[in-house]
């Protein structure tokens, strides 16, 4: 029904996932994972599962981002691979 919107969301999902995998800076990777979660929540809402989308937006884009940033502050920014 909304296939144009879903196509744009899929393209941005692929871009954020590839950047999160290929980035050397772990902070960039965690921010990209947060954006991936938010786009995934938008896709769930487009499919009609509003409760699942709300849970994904709150947990994936809110609390997981905070916990990942705290974990990066306590270890290191850079990755070897």
């Amino acid at each position: 029904m909304y296939w144009e919107l879903e196509l744009i969301l899929f393209i941005f999902l692929l871009i954020t996932a590839v950047i999160a995998l290929e980035s050397k800076d772990l902070l960039v990777a965690s921010v990209m994972l947060t954006m991936f979660s938010f786009l995934m929540a938008l896709m769930f809402t487009t499919m009609g599962a509003v409760d699942v989308g709300f849970t994904e937006a709150v947990v994936g884009a809110g609390v997981t981002g905070i916990l990942l940033v705290v974990a990066i502050y306590q270890t290191t920014y850079k990755t070897e691979d």
Partner: protein, 146 residues
Amino acid sequence: MTNRSPSPIVLLGTRFLSPYIMVFGFYVIFHGHYSPGGGFQGGTLLAAALLLIRIASGTKLAQLQFKDYLARPLAAFGVFIYFGTGLLALLMGGYFLDYGELPIPGLEPAYLRYWGILIIEIGVGLTVMTVLTLIYDNMVKGEDYA
């Protein structure tokens, strides 16, 4: 990480933003019967409001808002609310977690189920909020980011 000075702009911004997130969390819990939401989402929003203050203002100021030794008893109390509701329905002659048998006088079973769902959502929200705050407090123990 040692030479960072506390920024008053960040502190003021989070102090402005945090109560609204908290009110929205309570709205999500108590309005979960009519709109999307429920105990899990509302509890996570409340935990996000607490964690914003904890990140921006440091440990000493955040202890005034929510003491970290309160987290574990409140999490256990949230589980106890859920389990106690089910056990009370079991003792009153129904099945386990059958809200139609709860001993609240003057209500028909459909509205008893309504209030039973609300009670267990409060329990779930309390547990999720305190557990997420507990995880953050244990991760940053001994260091201060303000």
